[in-house]
């Protein structure tokens, strides 16, 4: 099974990074979350209700819809603010990428640990720019709002192709497909990672890899 990979690219000001990432990640998760499953006997289950919430951005002329779940919001915000900090610590020319990966767990026999098989990866590339004056910032507010709108349309287009989705699991398998730790909604199993590219265009991970390779080659 091939993993579906989508890349979105945005150019924002430093103070807009957080909201832009939240907008896109929440839009994706809105589509990749269901209500809580309640399994009954005879192999049937019922699904809870997913509520939605409109969020206005402060630094961007944009409103996005997220799942009405404070737990989920907290987790996403935590990941995004780590990314934002890493991006700001890397220097003003930094380019970063945050990835939202949906995966399935495949149980392996002891002593091997469970395998995580991704089935969909969303990568959001971020270019941070610095603006000189208030007028440019105002234009940026509107422009980034429009761009985010286009990205939301892209996301919706991909999702509505209705390509591969994991099969609905039985009760014993549900934790291999869904994140059942939240009490009000049930997103597909996901993880958020990021990488920061320094101004030389090389990513930290590639530099590390090169170092290790060189060390081993000696």
């Amino acid at each position: 099974m091939n993993c579906r990979s989508e890349v979105l690219e945005v150019t924002v000001e430093a103070r807009q990074v957080e909201e832009a990432m939240l907008a896109l990640l929440h839009t994706i998760l809105l589509h990749r979350s269901t209500g809580k499953f309640h399994y009954k006997k005879e192999g049937t289950y019922s699904i809870g209700t997913v509520g939605t919430l409109d969020i206005d951005c402060d630094f961007i002329d944009f409103t996005f819809v997220r799942v009405s779940s404070e737990e989920l919001d907290r987790m996403i915000r935590k990941a995004v603010s780590e990314f934002k900090e890493a991006l700001s610590n890397s220097g003003s020319d930094g380019i970063g990428q945050i990835s939202l990966e949906f995966y399935q767990k495949k149980k392996s026999r002891w002593p091997f640990s469970d395998e995580c098989i991704p089935w969909e990866v969303w990568s959001i590339k971020v270019n941070v720019v610095n603006l000189a004056n208030e007028q440019e910032r105002q234009i940026c507010r509107e422009k980034v709002g429009e761009k985010l709108g286009e990205k939301v349309i892209n996301v919706v287009e991909v999702i509505n192709r209705h390509e591969y989705l994991p099969k609905m699991p039985t009760q014993s398998e549900v934790d291999n497909v869904f994140d059942t730790s939240l009490k009000d909604v049930q997103p597909y199993l996901y993880k958020i990672t990021y990488q920061i590219t320094d101004c030389l265009g090389t990513s930290v991970s590639t530099t590390m890899r090169r170092l290790i390779k060189d060390t081993l080659a000696l």
């Binding site: 589509h31 819809v65 996301v155 609905m168």
Partner: protein
């Protein structure tokens, strides 16, 4: 063909499409109410949450949708359309967008109805939620108020896009294949807002005498022409007609929220028993936050009132604050405080009694803030009569400090400060109906004076590069150093003479 689809599947599919159409209309209209929508997630399923989504049903909207459908379903050649238009307070109207739910002939025979189709329709509704916040009409609808309102119209049949002007754009929300055809949801929106740009923010002479409830008709009123839309606001039904839209759900319409993990032959899971219409049992709706500033800035305070005959202050008046009329709070509030709740009427009455007073109080609170930017001719005022938040910090005891250049700079500007001058003018407006309406000039704080209008950016740049302090320039500083050193012995002699005074001063400090 249809013979391959079992009767139960066909029945389910028809029900899914019908409720999908109704929910689509709800999502679109609620997204144009001008308010943020909030619904709660619930881990326990209820029978009324179709497609496992917390989408409330506004009874009037459901009624309109059912009236348009007239018992039919969207099918091939029969599209359900929701047209969103804008109507100004002067009576001009313009179509903004048309949402179309269509069906084409492309069938997907192998798809499972009660599972896959249902879930995909749910995903499509989520996409609709996201896309309705992205099209240009969303921002316009958030700012609707006394200048213009957003109307909706539902019709069934051929799609009409001619009213959208030239160059309209189309965005496809999504498709879902079914055994009887492919359901497509799309939106065509106007890009040419030329009519808007000329009129939208023009502040001509105040409009007199427009009654607040001019734009609100009861939904089944015969006064409204057939081709005019319904306003995108939610008015909680009065007690008299509270029962009118109560029974929106037919008795057999149960939302199937049970699924099976078994093989396809055992798809039909146990159905939930019928639950009464979603007036009491549905997931609770969070009330949109009533932020006084937000409310008043977007001018949703229920229409235009008689404006006092004051000439507008300059050509660039932007901010207008208006008084909430004494109408039932919900008439024009676009679902603000009464919200989209379908809960019991007792609760609604409480909210209604709260809402007229809240905006007025918040208006009064807000007026004070707005007054910061009012430009009024200067009149000499003593500090005592100024109603200033920082009056306590204004210099007192002017007699002793008359000669102090720090307190009385050589060139004092006409106002004591823009902040003080403007707040004074707010206070002198007088009480009565004129209190309620303030025309203001938008001027940034710290702007110098009328003669030299300066934008914040320019000010900031100048501030960043101040001229060099005279005392810091080299040749002067070296001279003064030499002078200082020379005068040092004299100064020391003077200080030694007055040593007692200094000691007394130090003791006082301790």
């Amino acid at each position: 063909m249809d013979s391959e689809l079992s009767p139960q599947d066909k029945k389910d599919l028809d029900k899914f499409i019908k409720f999908f159409a109704l929910k689509t209309v709800q999502v679109i209209v609620q997204a144009r109410l001008g308010e943020k929508i909030c619904t709660r997630s619930s881990s326990s399923p209820t029978g009324s949450d179709w497609f496992n989504l917390g989408i409330k049903d506004i009874p009037e909207v459901t009624h309109e949708a059912k009236k348009a459908l007239a018992g039919q379903l969207p099918g091939i050649g029969r599209s359900m359309c929701v047209e969103i238009s804008l109507k100004t307070s002067e009576g001009d109207s313009m179509e903004l967008e048309t949402w179309c739910l269509e069906m084409n002939e492309k069938c997907d025979k192998d798809i499972k109805v009660s599972y896959t189709v249902y879930n995909r329709l749910s995903v499509l509704l989520k996409s609709l939620l996201a896309i309705t916040r992205v099209t240009p009409a969303y921002k316009l609808s958030r700012k609707q108020g006394h200048d213009y309102v957003i109307l909706y119209r539902i019709y069934f049949g051929e799609v009409q896009l001619s009213g959208l002007g030239e160059g309209f754009q189309t965005v496809r929300v999504g498709v879902v294949g079914t055994p009887i055809g492919t359901v497509t949801l799309s939106c065509a929106y106007r890009t040419n807002l030329a009519f808007m740009s000329n009129r939208q923010f023009e502040r001509s002479a105040p409009i007199m005498g427009i009654i607040v409830d001019h734009f609100v008709d009861p939904p089944c009123s015969s006064q409204r022409p057939a081709n005019m839309g319904q306003p995108c606001n939610y008015r909680a039904p009065d007690e008299e007609d509270g029962g009118q839209f109560a029974g929106v759900q037919d008795s057999q319409e149960v939302c199937n929220t049970s699924f099976s993990t078994s093989p396809p032959s055992q798809l039909y899971a146990s159905r939930l028993s019928y639950q009464p219409p979603a007036l009491a049992a549905a997931a609770e709706l969070c009330h949109p936050v009533v932020n006084p500033n937000q409310v008043l800035h977007t001018g949703k305070e229920g229409g235009v009132v008689l404006v006092p005959a004051q000439p507008p202050q300059g050509a660039d008046t932007h901010l207008t604050v208006e008084h909430a009329p004494n109408t039932p709070g919900s008439s024009f509030l676009s679902g603000e405080d009464d919200g989209l709740s379908q809960s019991g009427e007792g609760r609604r009455d409480d909210r209604r009694s709260v809402s007229p007073s809240d905006p007025v109080e918040s208006l009064n609170a807000f007026t004070r803030k707005v007054g910061a930017f009012v430009n009024k001719p200067n009149t000499q005022m003593t500090i005592a009569s100024l109603d200033l938040p920082f009056a306590a910090f204004a210099p007192r005891g002017l007699d002793t400090e008359e000669n102090d250049p720090m307190v009385h700079p050589p060139e004092s500007p006409p106002c004591l400060s823009p902040l003080q001058g403007s707040l004074h003018s707010e206070g002198s407006e007088g009480s009565g109906p004129q209190d309620d309406f303030v025309m203001v000039d938008f001027r940034p704080a710290f702007s110098k004076d009328d003669l030299l209008p300066m934008d914040l950016g320019t000010f900031y740049r100048e501030f960043q590069n101040p001229p060099q302090l005279a005392s810091l320039s080299l040749h002067i500083s070296s001279q003064s150093m030499a002078d200082d050193l020379d005068s040092l012995p004299e100064k020391l002699a003077v200080y030694e003479k007055n040593i007692d005074e200094f000691d007394a001063f130090v003791d006082m400090l301790q």
